[in-house]
Amino acid sequence: MKSKDKVLIANGQGFWGDSILGPVRLIEEGPLDYLTLDYLAEVTMSIMQKLKTRDPSKGYATDFVALLDRVLPKAMEKGVKIVANAGGVNPMACKDAVLEVVRKHGLEGVKVAVVEGDDILGELDGLMDGGEAFTNMDTGEALAPVREKVTSANVYLGAFPIAEALDQGADIVITGRGTDPGLVIGPLIHEFGWTEADLDQLAAGTVAGHILECGAQCTGGNYTDWQSIENMAMIGYPIVEASADGTFTVTKHEGTGGRVSRDTVVHQLSYEMGDPANYITPDVVADFTSFQIDDEGGDRVRISGVKGAPATPTYKVSMSFQDGWKSVGQLTISGPDALAKARLASEIVWQRLAYDGFEYPEHERLVEFVGANVCHEGVPVAGSDEPSEVVLRLGVKGPDRAKVNRFGSELVPLVTSGPPGVTGFAGGRPKATEIIGYWPALLDKTKVRSTVSVHELQPGGPS
């Protein structure tokens, strides 16, 4: 099915919570064949499973539906196909919501495909009875003792089901859990007719997918020499121009901010890379030490010569389980003697809790003095008068709840599309909370009559 010489694939969403402007601008600002969107992290599946338990119509990335509402007419007009793992633990419900967007915009003939089979929560007991141990890959522990606490269990599916959906004419492909690079490899398999035996091509697709998967992290976001990156606010999200032989060029749309250079791309290649010679996916084992990387200038970086080895016989399973509770709070303490007073304040909290019978052992409590080198604890900081870290607090208010909420969705994206060293986002997106107004006034005393009534407990029940 060799429809084109070169296929343009972009990724507009590095994670659930990334800015909506990435994909919106990718659709508007230049040519594109495929838009991929990555919404799932390990903990995301568990959160979605919880949402689905409460409401059977939930459990997918609702951001995806909001995005389509904004870009679908234009995407269909330009012939851009969309591949997203937005299905979470409820891809069918996601599909229903997407079809509702299609209906709302009066679009005809839009085909929405759903890839399922990753969710094995319902089959877990049967699989264990059949002899699967699900031993923890990191600790070697058996699953049985925590089985009852498991809240989600998903297999990382590969790229071939996505290719099959595209082969069947899908305009939009919705998946649950799959590998992140699979979102990019699937369209390449579909376009170039690659098979399971095309190991070098599949490995090249894996490298391309790894470069794209965190959005702007390969176009100058989170880049060491951040001072040299121009127009970070309007940073371009990455695009891969791929050929059938597996060579590809990383680029971005003309006129967008940021930069694609050998160095920005290698930054992303080294992100969460593990053992570079053995990058394992369900489709292939890619060798990240095998390829050549050439900076062609003009925001174009070419990668060639990627080698791959046969895939392993196993899928990776990602499970989440109820592992306790947590709570974090913070106060700001000014000088003079800010640090000494903060230490005292911390001691007071633990002492008062202990007095009341609540002891928190060392490994179950956190004490951080943000501003006193929390991020780089123990690392010597040579000759600088700069504070070692700064907590950025931004806020908005107003009568329009949606407008106030929109603000909150532009903070976390800075982790991948802003300067380096941004962290502390675990609380997620700030949400609008209601402002409770205070309204003091006066009223003539004659307008108010006070009454007194006395009640007492009656035999057989309250009065």
Binding site: E42, V43, D138, Q217, N222, Y223, T224, D225, D263, V266, H267, Q268, L269, S270, Y271, E272, M273, G274, D275, P276, A277, F288, T289, S290, F291, Q292, I293, D323, G324, K326, V328, R365, L366, E368, V370, V374, C375, H376, E377, G378, V379, P380, V381, A382, V415, P420, G421, V422, T423, G424, A426
Partner: protein, 114 residues
Amino acid sequence: MTLTTLDQIAYARSGDKGEGSNVGVIARSDAAYAFLREALTEEVVREHFKGINHGGVRRFEAPNMGVLNFLLEDSLGGGGSASLKTDAQGKTHGLALLRMELDIPDDVLRSVGS
């Protein structure tokens, strides 16, 4: 030899990998890579991160990219959603490594234009 910080001759990018962090060090030149392969050992990196990492350190090499990739095996205070730390994903560990002071040969410094 000049005593200066690692950021003069390398970039870095970091993130989480299970209960530890993955810190990629990217040499700014071929000469810098050759120097760092010798100087930036697992032991040196482990010592540098002793206030953050409570496990081992493993190093991988990707010479085609000029990358030394380090895994700090217990550096996130639990990892995933179990961590209470501000930097629960190790996002700032790359910059922490670039703050390392070391004696860098002058030809290596010249190779990166500083």
